[in-house]
């Protein structure tokens, strides 16, 4: 019964968007409660669907749109957990935003855009075909542009919005190319479609992957991966994500925790059979993910802006998720469960961390951690909820992050045993750094001495309430949901009877690898590998404490790195990305090229046209003299004409022509 109302999950936020946009400013707090209620409605419907379908049913509704395409809703375990997560986390974030955006003159616009954003993300998640998914995908991109540039009068916000939009656009073009390629290949197969089946529907895609030539599969997979890289902020398209912190903090929480950036991971998970079948497809995913995880973590170590630390952390954690999918080459479809579990857990604790950071910024009025210190004295709730989030992010035992991240690392180890240890090494190093930078941030903000004058007050209950709820989930979700989650998600592709053995042969994944993975669930790991996650998290936190917590401080960061240490400078500059991308590539290469093009355009293309138009103008200057504007001349000419006409006609009659 709930499934009949599945369309409302998207329709309600759209309604909220329209209402907030047109009547929002007449309502208290910009009509934020409308958006909250709309997402809450989505959450209730999603829960109802979960109750109806759990554990082994899916919801699939579709109708014809045009030509070979349809619109439809597909709610399988993968989509359903995403729906639940998005509606739940976003409801809390909207609630929090009611406090955070209070008094902002653009509050109504904020809630309208946030509503549209939510709708786009939810629509993306339960689309039943790739084209519809792409449309919502673009809508998500558009809304992120609007929200990041929410304070558009601030030049940095406007340029960050543009950067986010353009960078993700690069990925989107690749994604679109992948879709077109996939469509062409599927169309070339001449599949006999039953009524109600369309080419780009996921079940149809899953059923026919095996018949597409492997070389094409790889191209398609790379195209789709390109889209995912753009959206999920993976190297080398991650540059927009830290800048995107210019938006309100609630936007950061929404975009960088729960929704937009997870869309890329979700896409790869959704197309997992295709990646699995494509030779080198998953290898690319694993490589990108593992590298990004470490790369971003190192930059997180040196950032001073509290939100940038979290942004780098998001990029890094998304790398973990990608790597988690990538190791599917060794562990099969279980990789989807592992990766999505981290995605869900991450969205809880990262939303929590962002909202806590927002709460701190709201009180302290600065983003710079160097100006904070001892904030914990005044903001007990924020301090403890953020501690929960940080412990979870750092992977402290029993917290959500521990279970989710540990599982990815364990799977990476299996991958290492069978194929290649590099992702494992990268991920372990990234996990250590995660613990360190997370607690560097926490200690810097909440302990020590006040390093500047700032406001001393706790945030209102409407902001603290969501923090507490999220903290509960950031702590307990991993422990409580672990086993059910895996068993639920592992059945995801069984609904479409995807034959992974067959696909594995195409993709070049040895079939015996699975059996080894199946029997060796943890059994194959030596004791020190099992112990490693505990050491990583606790050791990392301790290390951060030794540097930054005044109670146990033993070292000063300056003892380790001087001001001019090249490594420190490299990290602080973000690997000179700005210098490479902006100063060198954009301002030298692109600018130089455009100068030359500009010259060709002006001299050659425009020059020829200008000469032609000048010549015609000169000609016209002479011809226009005929038009005197003197009536007498016209009348005389008319008279002359009539006389000539009369003479001619008369003569013609004389001769007998007429």
């Amino acid at each position: 019964m709930y499934a009949d109302y599945a369309y409302l999950i998207v329709a309600l936020p759209v309604l909220a968007f329209v209402l907030c946009l047109f009547v929002g400013w007449h309502l208290p707090r910009g009509g934020g409660f409308i958006t909250v209620l709309a997402t809450l409605g989505g959450l209730i419907i999603s829960l109802g669907i979960l109750k109806e379908t759990y554990p082994n049913q899916i919801v699939h509704q579709s109708m014809h749109w045009f030509a070979d395409f349809n619109v439809g809703i597909l709610i399988d375990p993968l989509a359903l957990v995403m729906l639940l997560m998005v509606t739940f986390v976003v409801t809390l974030i909207h609630t929090y935003a009611n406090g955070y955006m209070n008094g902002d003159p653009g509050a109504a616009r904020y809630f309208a855009e946030a509503g549209l954003f939510t709708a786009a993300m939810l629509g993306l998640v339960y689309s039943d075909n790739l084209l519809q998914l792409f449309i919502f995908w673009e809508l998500v991109g558009l809304c992120s542009y609007l929200l990041i540039g929410f304070w558009y009068r601030k030049p940095s916000a406007a340029s960050a919005a543009k950067k986010a939009f353009l960078t993700t656009r690069v990925g989107d073009v690749l994604f679109l190319a992948g879709i077109i390629l996939l469509y062409n290949n599927l169309a070339a197969l001449n599949i006999p479609l039953k009524p109600g089946e369309y080419l780009l529907q996921f079940p149809v895609i899953y059923a026919n992957i095996a018949q597409i030539p492997p070389a094409q599969l790889t191209l398609i997979a790379l195209g789709i991966l390109g889209g995912a890289i753009g959206k999920s902020g993976q190297f080398p398209l991650h540059v927009w994500l830290p800048d995107a912190m210019e938006g309100p903090t609630t936007v950061s929480a929404m975009i960088h925790a729960a929704t937009m950036v997870t869309a890329g991971v979700y896409l790869v998970a959704r197309m997992f059979p295709l990646f699995y079948a494509a030779p080198h497809g998953l290898t690319a995913v694993a490589a990108v993910g593992a590298f990004t995880a470490l790369f971003a973590a190192t930059m997180g170590l040196t950032a001073f802006d509290i939100k940038r630390v979290l942004a780098f952390s998001t990029v890094s954690q998304l790398g973990f998720m990608m790597a988690g999918l990538g190791v599917g080459a060794a562990v099969g479809a279980a990789a989807v469960g592992v990766s999505i579990f981290h995605l869900i857990g991450h969205s809880f604790f990262k939303a929590l961390l962002f909202l806590c950071a927002g709460s701190v910024i709201h009180a302290v009025n600065t983003n710079d951690m160097r100006e904070m210190g001892a904030v914990g004295k005044y903001m007990k709730w924020t301090m403890y909820t953020m501690l929960v989030g940080s412990l979870s992010l750092a992977g402290f035992p029993l917290f959500t992050g521990f279970f989710t991240k540990d599982e990815i690392i364990a799977k990476a180890y299996e991958y290492g045993v069978m194929i290649n240890f590099l992702p494992y090494i990268f991920l372990v190093a990234a996990a250590v750094l995660t613990a360190i930078y997370t607690f560097r941030m926490w200690f810097c903000v909440f302990t020590g001495k006040e390093r500047s004058n700032y406001g001393h007050h706790e945030s209102p209950w409407v902001m603290v309430g969501p923090l507490v709820i999220l903290a509960v989930f950031a702590f307990g979700f991993g422990m409580a949901a672990q086993h059910d989650f895996y068993s639920y998600l592992d059945t995801n592709f069984e609904h479409y009877s995807v034959n992974f053995d067959e696909l594995g042969v195409i993709g070049g994944h040895a079939a015996e690898g699975h059996e080894a993975a199946g029997e060796g669930e943890g059994a194959g790991e030596p004791w020190y590998i099992k112990l490693l996650p505990y050491i990583i998290s606790i050791g990392g936190i301790l290390l951060a404490g030794l540097f930054y917590w005044d109670k146990i401080k033993r070292f000063d960061p300056s003892q380790v790195t001087g001001e001019n240490d090249p490594l420190r400078r490299t990290l602080l500059k973000g690997y000179y990305q700005h210098e490479i991308f902006t100063a060198w590539f954009a301002e030298t290469v692109v600018y130089g090229t455009s100068l030359i093009c500009n010259m060709i355009d002006i001299k050659l293309v425009d020059g020829w046209l200008n000469w032609l138009s000048a010549w015609i103008l000169g000609l016209a200057e002479n011809v226009r003299k005929i038009q005197t504007g003197v009536i007498q001349n016209y009348v005389s000419a008319m008279l002359l004409g009539i006389v000539v006409l009369v003479v001619v006609i008369t003569l013609a009659m004389e001769v007998g022509l007429v």
């Binding site: 226009r624 003299k625 038009q627 009536i631 008279l639």
Partner: protein, 100 residues
């Protein structure tokens, strides 16, 4: 009854005078008068033919034409007054803001 030929002759003479004035005169009011001559010579033709061929159509048409001429004269003189206020003259040769 006056023969038809005389009527037509009168109309032709009036028309020619009007046309001559239109071509030679510079004064705006004179031009207006010449246009009236043209119109009315046509009216004479209409009425004359209507009388000789027992049919009232031509006279009705002439009435329309007169009404039209009145309206045209109203607009024309209004324009001339505006021109006079602006330039202090109604010599149409010296008013050339909209031609080369």
């Amino acid at each position: 009854m006056i023969p038809l030929e005389l009527n037509i002759l009168l109309a032709s003479v009036m028309f020619t005078i009007g046309l001559y004035g239109l071509i030679t005169q510079k004064n705006g009011v004179k031009l207006m008068m010449c246009i009236e001559l043209l119109l009315n010579s046509a009216n004479i033709n209409l009425v004359a033919f209507s009388a000789y061929q027992p049919n009232v159509n031509g006279q009705v048409f002439a009435l329309f034409s007169i009404a039209l001429a009145a309206a045209e004269a109203g607009v024309g003189f209004a324009i001339l007054i505006a021109l006079y206020r602006l330039y202090g003259t109604i010599d149409l040769d010296s008013i050339h803001a909209m031609r080369w």
